[in-house]
Symmetry: C3
Subunit: 266 residues, 3 copies
């Protein structure tokens, strides 16, 4: 399936590790508006930890489908900028994705995705820098695609690209689920990729950093200050603290081992 | 008065304690744009301290009237999410307010406000989470109301809701005003709710954390580094430090006792 | 040349030191949208360190030309607010700049710039505060200018204003360049104003805080964790650390002495 079904909505999302302390994101928007004045530019987040491809990949995979068809998603978590890494232009379900070929797009793509290698030369602004492709390559390409340029004009089809696996859960013979924390959000919730469907019926206990806590339905089921686990807004298990910051209280962060165990029944 | 005079302007403001490090706010915008592509989405702030209903209530009360009539204000400072707390839909002076029934809207409402309990079931997205009503309930409701749905279709009128009083000032027999700091802004200004009208003519001295400082008209009236008090941009007394951070210098924050005393005259 | 060639695009950029923790920026947008509903409001950044005129001046000078002609750039880094400092209204190359007369606009202006003193009384909102001209003066003025008011109606021409020089480089007899770090961005890159053109051909070594590092073309030329210097996205020399934070590693910040020396050849 290589005929594009992309009909631009004019919405462009931005997901970077640039933070908001500097004008880097603002300047990207200036470049886009100079080329396509009517775009609606939405910040997905710019708080990805510097060069944390896994966190960027997770955020994108959890977010893109909430936007209208016809959205262009620009992802600049790009430790390889300045090298000869490719930039991918992918289409899926009426959305377009632009990101470096380092795996950050991969968890958001499926078998029907149509993936191209962006023609960087075609889009690079005159005097393009080697360190800020967000401004000099991604922004002009996004503006063109969000204005109706056909993806087939913007790059050649490719059949392989950098794959990326988010942390997976292993279920052992006793039915115990072993995984790790993907990251801590700004509330201190430690997010895993374990989906509710893996749990089925029954009660579960979650272990992290030597602490054990119940998997509950909502915060209000535990005391203020208590640790708990629940199925969070992304539909996956996370470890939280009621009215507190679980990551800080536990001294835990990305990569911490998480064990999800069927609760003992008497 | 229950006939709605709300004529949507297409502007939606967002006030949350979500921060900007995660894509929570971005995803709310995606949901709204999917339902109502032409909205103008404005961040009021997402820097309310986690679950600080008082700060959210203050920010909203100081900000909403600066926006055009026809604005929908979405407030998600919602420690009770997942419980059976109601969501309020209030109208006042041509503005609509959506927020949890925990008092966060209350200081922005007056006797003419028309308040409803939002029909949560009607707006909840399929598979709505118990932890992220910002995405799954508030956003679809805001998009509908900002697109012209009549409030009377969106919920039943109610006559009582959670009240909330911002810290008040007490004036003792000697004319001394006693209050407390509501919060410290990001410049370290300690904000109170004492309005300029309470001061009238005359000179005042402000006491906080054992320090005493003059109430002046502008920063330039004191030396660089000196503590001062003045009537801030919200029209209330605040304690500041010229070219400095008063909250850090004084070790003071929300709840700190503030005394405003007529200056001794000889 | 005093005939205005400004044709508003409807884009307004905002550059302040207000941060995003408080609703100050959101309220400015409310004021603007109340007066001019169709504006496109773009945050350049609000992360300028408090009252850091030099950093604001640098960000503006590096950013404004990336936006479409017809943009109004609002700059509120304004330690003198409340005093009788003027507000400048400048035009250059089809862009308008509004900022306090403290030098923050100066590096963005050239000999053809047309500069006026804004008629503050004309634009001040009723009951304007002495501490928040961003809301009470800059926002209404920006909305008017972005809606087509002629600059000649908004203020009187002036011929002198506060000048501001960004840190300059001195080249000594041995061809060694001496300068200082202007600021550290949020990645910890220490930015200088030394342009690539000053370097010409040849190899260079950069010294900062007793450390010596090569000037390279891209991060990938050094080991992970190594310090390096390169020509950054603004076209000037910056000191970085591959996959690290140079400012934190070196304990260096704004004002740190930087020496750029031709590499010894054997």
């Amino acid at each position: 399936m290589t005929d594009s079904v992309f009909k631009p909505s004019g919405v462009v999302t931005l997901l970077t590790d640039f933070g908001l302390s500097d004008p880097y994101v603002g300047v990207m928007k200036g470049v886009m508006l100079s080329l396509a004045p009517k775009l609606e530019l939405i910040d997905l987040t710019h708080g990805v930890p510097a060069q944390a491809v896994a966190v960027g990949a997770w955020h994108l995979s959890q977010s893109w489908s909430r936007f209208p068809k016809g959205t262009v998603h620009v992802v600049v978590v790009d430790p390889g900028v300045g090298s000869d890494r490719r930039i991918l232009l992918a289409e899926r379900d009426g959305h377009i994705f632009l990101g470096p070929d380092n795996g950050v797009l991969d968890p958001s793509l499926d078998g029907d995705a149509v993936v191209r290698s962006l023609d960087i030369e075609r889009f690079a602004l005159p005097g393009a820098s080697r360190t800020f492709h967000g401004r000099d390559v991604f922004s002009p390409a996004a503006a063109a695609l969000a204005s109706g340029m056909a993806p087939s004009e913007a790059g050649e089809l490719i059949s392989s690209w950098e794959r990326f696996s988010l942390p997976e859960a292993e279920v052992d013979e006793a039915g115990v689920i072993h995984t790790e924390a993907l990251y801590a959000d700004s509330f201190g919730n430690l997010i895993t990729t374990v989906e509710a469907a893996l749990l089925g019926e029954g009660e579960w206990t979650v272990e992290l950093c030597g602490e054990s806590m119940p998997l509950v339905g909502t915060y209000a089921e535990v005391e203020i200050g208590a640790l708990l686990a629940l199925v969070g807004s992304s539909g996956t298990v996370e470890v939280s603290q009621r009215d507190g910051d679980a990551a800080a209280s536990l001294g835990a962060g990305a990569g911490a081992s998480v064990v999800i165990r069927p609760s003992a029944s008497d």
